[in-house]
Symmetry: C2
Subunit: 356 residues, 2 copies
């Protein structure tokens, strides 16, 4: 029997209910900017060694909670666990990012892909969720996550990171049926993965569409948004995940907030290039918003960090439904002390806002 | 006495006057996708050896006109000629992009910067403009260009390319006066540079704000837009440049089109993530629009290229003021044959549109 949740600010904000102050968590909060994370990674030997060991994954997931009064925690893992479990052979080349030994290029490659077994190849993730949920003792909610089908396909087809992921784009244009087959398989896999995370104890689910913003408006709707909408519908139909709020984050897709809100998700992540007042107007109160401080601001001086945090909160205004976060993942250069003062400022100013 | 201009479609479209068909040029049309460009670069020994030699620069500028029925040509050069002329020591590390030997970091570094002499350090650019204009014999107009102060400062302060250019952002937040001093010096240099290009024969001027889209809304207005507006005002006040249309291109700044149009420029470049119909609505007929095919589409099949080109043109509609272009520079992987069919399709479909 899991512990009773002691801090439900994050979940209340996702439901657009009033909270005593603004909840905050930080994308990639368990990460390289923390010396204790680097120490655990050192012990694990490699990034995948860290991600694939539930004890290590649990350890680094909980690390930021020892330092900061965060209102949510997120499973430590990687978005590319699904394609790795599909047999593509994931590795992280030194400072060059992810690489797949067997990229997906042909119809035969796509046909071979199967939804991984959540009790098999992906069991280490589900075990990590279960362990983290247990070790949290109800302190804050646990967010499960996955990459969006479009974003996973970007890496799977290109084989590695890219400025424009033109190889997948070419597949979308020249072989749209094949691209849809790939994306549909991934949508099934992401749905099953998120449902399994929910069943193991995740209390909110987030989909990272890191590369949706590389697409023009029509291809975004066809190849990124559509599959995310499918996943949200599947999650809403499953008893394990039905009650869980879903957060969609399409980076660089500020023009598509209204369409993203139409998927039935609970909240949208917003990057720092959009004013939250404009984002609120775009979604017209239908979803909560999560964001959106420029991660680079964490390298500025304390008074600037505090001022810019307040600017973000003022742009959202004194309305329910704001989860404070960065507009993208925290970078390794960030100073943990700056994160601490950000978290404290958000809580303090959130109380001030509500007292007005 | 320069030759009479034989093809004024591009300039007419920038003035939002009717044209017989839609004019097209391609950002980075003199580039690595052309074997004849690679041959000239080989002879020149290096990228800077190519850019700094007016005869070579003229040769590669004119190369795409031999193959394609383009309606404009753009000076072959690099946006970083100004900081190089300021003494920062520009080099292009093999496949790693631009590097400055002496990046700008401190107040003393900024204080040392002076507007380069257009008859001195930057004479090779001005000579190239004069030579190209002469060698064009009025076939199509010649576009002169510069990087925006924000974008130049990104490289100057970071010292090289970067995902987030956080070093300049930190200067903006922690030392805003110093950042403004740097940007103001660059605005003066860019203005003088574009005026000198106009005096040497450029018939339109374009400012590339490649990294403006990395900024949040308020910093974009303060650190990128403001200096571009200053430059447009300076160009409008100088007899050499007063009559020349100015095109501003802030990549990833789709949320700021209305504000960019307020600068007094003639046209805005639009990247491929925005629908041109939305862009037209945003600027409300005040400026022409240039764009916006996803450059990756040039790697798709001929029928897809033709279809997507027509989609771009349909989204603009049958109104004056559209200059067809890619939404960003052409990539080295593009096939020149695909460029040819794009150019021909734009002209053919432009005539069809006008006949409706």
């Amino acid at each position: 029997m899991p512990d009773v949740l002691k801090n439900d600010r994050f979940l209340r904000a996702l439901r657009r209910e009033p909270t005593d102050t603004t909840p905050i968590w930080v994308m990639r909060q368990a990460g390289r900017y923390l010396p204790e994370y680097r120490a655990t990674r050192e012990r694990a030997g490699s990034f995948m060694g860290l991600a694939q060991n539930p004890e290590y994954a649990c350890e680094v997931t909980l690390q930021p909670l020892q330092r900061f009064e965060l209102d949510a925690t997120i499973l430590f893992s990687d978005i590319l666990t699904i394609p790795d479990a599909m047999g593509l052979g994931l590795s992280f080349a030194q400072s060059e990012g992810p690489q797949f030994a067997r990229p997906v290029r042909t119809a035969a490659d796509v046909a071979k892909l199967a939804v991984p077994d959540m009790d098999g190849e992906l069991r280490y993730v589900i075990d990590a969720v279960r362990l983290i949920r247990h070790e949290l003792h109800g302190r804050v909610p646990l967010i499960g996550f996955a990459g969006s089908p479009w974003t996973l396909a970007c890496y799977m087809v290109e084989g590695h990171g890219s400025r424009d992921f033109a190889t997948l784009k070419m597949m979308c244009w020249d072989q749209p049926k094949l691209a849809h087959q790939l994306l549909d398989t991934l949508a099934q896999a992401v749905s099953a993965y998120l449902i399994a995370q929910a069943a193991a104890g995740a209390q909110a689910l987030m989909i990272f569409d890191t590369w949706g913003g590389l697409l023009g408006p029509a291809p975004f709707r066809e190849f990124s948004l559509r599959t995310m909408a499918q996943i949200v519908a599947t999650l809403k139909a499953d008893p394990a995940s039905r009650e869980l709020p879903v957060i969609l984050f399409s980076k660089g897709a500020g023009a598509h907030l209204a369409a993203l809100a139409d998927t039935g998700c609970a909240a949208l992540g917003v990057d720092w290039t959009i004013d939250l007042a404009d984002a609120r107007a775009a979604v017209a109160g239908r979803v909560a918003l999560q964001g959106n401080l420029d991660p680079a601001i964490l390298r500025a001086s304390p008074e600037v960090i505090r001022r810019e945090a307040r600017t973000v909160m003022d742009s959202y205004g004194n309305h329910p439904g704001h989860v404070f976060n960065l507009g993208h993942g925290i970078t390794p250069e960030a100073d943990p002390e700056q994160v601490k003062l950000l978290v404290d400022e958000v809580h303090a100013y959130g109380r001030t806002l509500r007292a007005r």
